[in-house]
Structure formats: structure tokens, C-alpha cells
Amino acid sequence: MSTTVSANRAFFNQLRKYYTWYTGGFIAFVIVLAILEQMGLPRVWIGYSFLFATIALYAGIGIMSRTAEVAEYYVAGRRVPALFNGMATGADWMSAASFIGMAGTLYLLGFDGLGFVVGWTGGYVLVALLLAPYLRKFGQFTIPDFLGARYGGNIARSIGIFAAILCSFTYVVAQIYGVGIITSFFIGVPFEIGVFLGLAGILVCSFLGGMRAVTWTQVAQYIILIIAYLIPVIWLSVKITGIPIPQLVYGQVL
């Protein structure tokens, strides 16, 4: 047991080193782009370089984490440290649909729009308390598998499959739509082609490495997303209220 603990600690430290370097690289990349913009690089080229650099990065992580082992493919070997798993989950939370859709949704619907936020955050509580611990203890890979093993028979399993398809479908439609908009906006192709280009990128990133690749690309995305979320709101908060912590003060401007 002590050997696994020390092996896990080494794994954790290695990951922390990788992602610290990655964050530094990302900040340097943004600074280089900013300097190039000052020197007169056209906006469309900034779009191109940002899009392709990040896709290349995610594809690189995807190819590096390729695996043929079932446990690695479905559950990343069950050994993602909690901090990194939280970052990957956070990246899911802040994904394309939230990034593009939520601000507009809240602006349009007001208080009612917050139902989305409460719903998909509150859902994590149900998963954490009712499903995740038992899924892990039963050693299953998917929720329908777990329900089938726990309750026996195919009825519970079918309900699980139906729920999984229902949730994934609504989630994926919103995400794919977002991917299409971003791709067509950045590289100036029609929306329909942008969707397929985006899907090809996702396929490269996730198909070879399954959950292992997805988790490590999600951690990388988390770092970009959290920076991209925080800078604009902190900026606005300083401009409007003079205090750089928007969470505390935005009640004033409602």
C-alpha cells in the first residue's frame, strides 16, 4: 500500500510539473500573439494560429495518451488524482455551451435562466452521493453497467441507457452546435463544414485514448478556460466597480 501511495505521489508531482509548464507556455503564446497583433498581424491570422495551436495541442495529448487497455480507455485507469479530475470536470462544466450560450441565455431569460446553472451543478451532488462511490466499488465502467449489476436484469440497465442517451443527446447537440459556430467563425468556412471540422478534431483527441485522453485534454482546456472566463469579468468588474472580485460586487449593477 505504501508503494502505491508513493507511486501516486510521484505521478501527481509529474502531472503538476507538466501542467505548470503548459500554463507558462500558454501565457507565453498569448503574449507572443499580442505582440504580433501590435505589429499588425491581421485578426484572421490570430484566429487561425490560436485555433490550430490549441487543436494541435489537444490532438498531441490525445495521441500521447492512446491506449488499448479497457480500464485505461473507459476510466483512465481509475488513477486520476482528485485535483486533476476536478479540473477535467470543471472544464466540462465550462464547455462550449456554457461559454457561448449561458451569457445570452441569462440575458434573455433572467432569473429563469439560472435554472440551467442550478440544474447541472446540483446534478453533480446527486452523482457524487448516489452513483459515483458505488460505481467505483462495483468496479463497473458505465452507469448502465452498474445499474445492471446492482439491480440485476435488463430493466434497470435499459432505464440507465435511456437516461444516458437523453442527457448526452441534449448536451452533445448544444456542444456540437457551439463547435460549429466557433470553427466557422475562426476560419471563415460555412457552419455545416465547421461542424465536421470540429467533429474531426474531437475524434482525433478522444478516439485513440478514450477517457484517458479526454481527461488529460480536459485538464489542459480547464487552464485555458479558467483564464478566458476570469480575465473579462475581472476587467469589467474593475472598470465598473473598482473591485477586482466580481463575485462579491456584481449585485450592485443588477
Binding site: 502505491t4 482528485a82 446553472v117 451532488v125 446527486l126 457524487a128 452521493l129 450592485q252 443588477l254
Partner: protein
Amino acid sequence: MQQTEKHREYWRRNLKITGILLAIWFVVTYVMAWFAIPLAEINFFGWPLSFYMAAQGSLIIYVIIIWFYARYMRKLDLEYGVDEGDQA
């Protein structure tokens, strides 16, 4: 595996903490939303209370619930000797 009295006690405590936390979750999620209109009258540091709860408060409470559950269950696992010993 033979279920001992100890296992049953572990499971009772597991169910109890899950029940308590889900009750908090229910109040934060549904009761707060149900009484959103009267609660909006209350001013909470510049926000209407129901708006603050939906936008930030409930999310903070959710995170605390998950953190507390993970910590509690980890202690319980160690206490009853069913820990898997795989955390860094």
C-alpha cells in the same frame, strides 16, 4: 463476503450522512426555487436573496456538500477498515 455487525453499522452511517446531505440539497435546490418570489424581497449584500442563491449560493453549498461527503466517507472508510488505500 460475510456481513458483520460492523459492516451494517458502516452502512447505517453511510445512509445517514447521505440522507442529511440530500435533505440540504433538496432545500437549497427546490425549496429555495419554490419560494423565489417572497425570498426576492430580502436584500442579501445588494442581491435579491433568491437571485443570489440561484446564481452563487446554491453552487457554493453544492461544492461544500461534495467536499464534506468525500471527507466524511474517507474517514469512515479508514475507521471501518474498508479503505482502498489508493489516494495520493
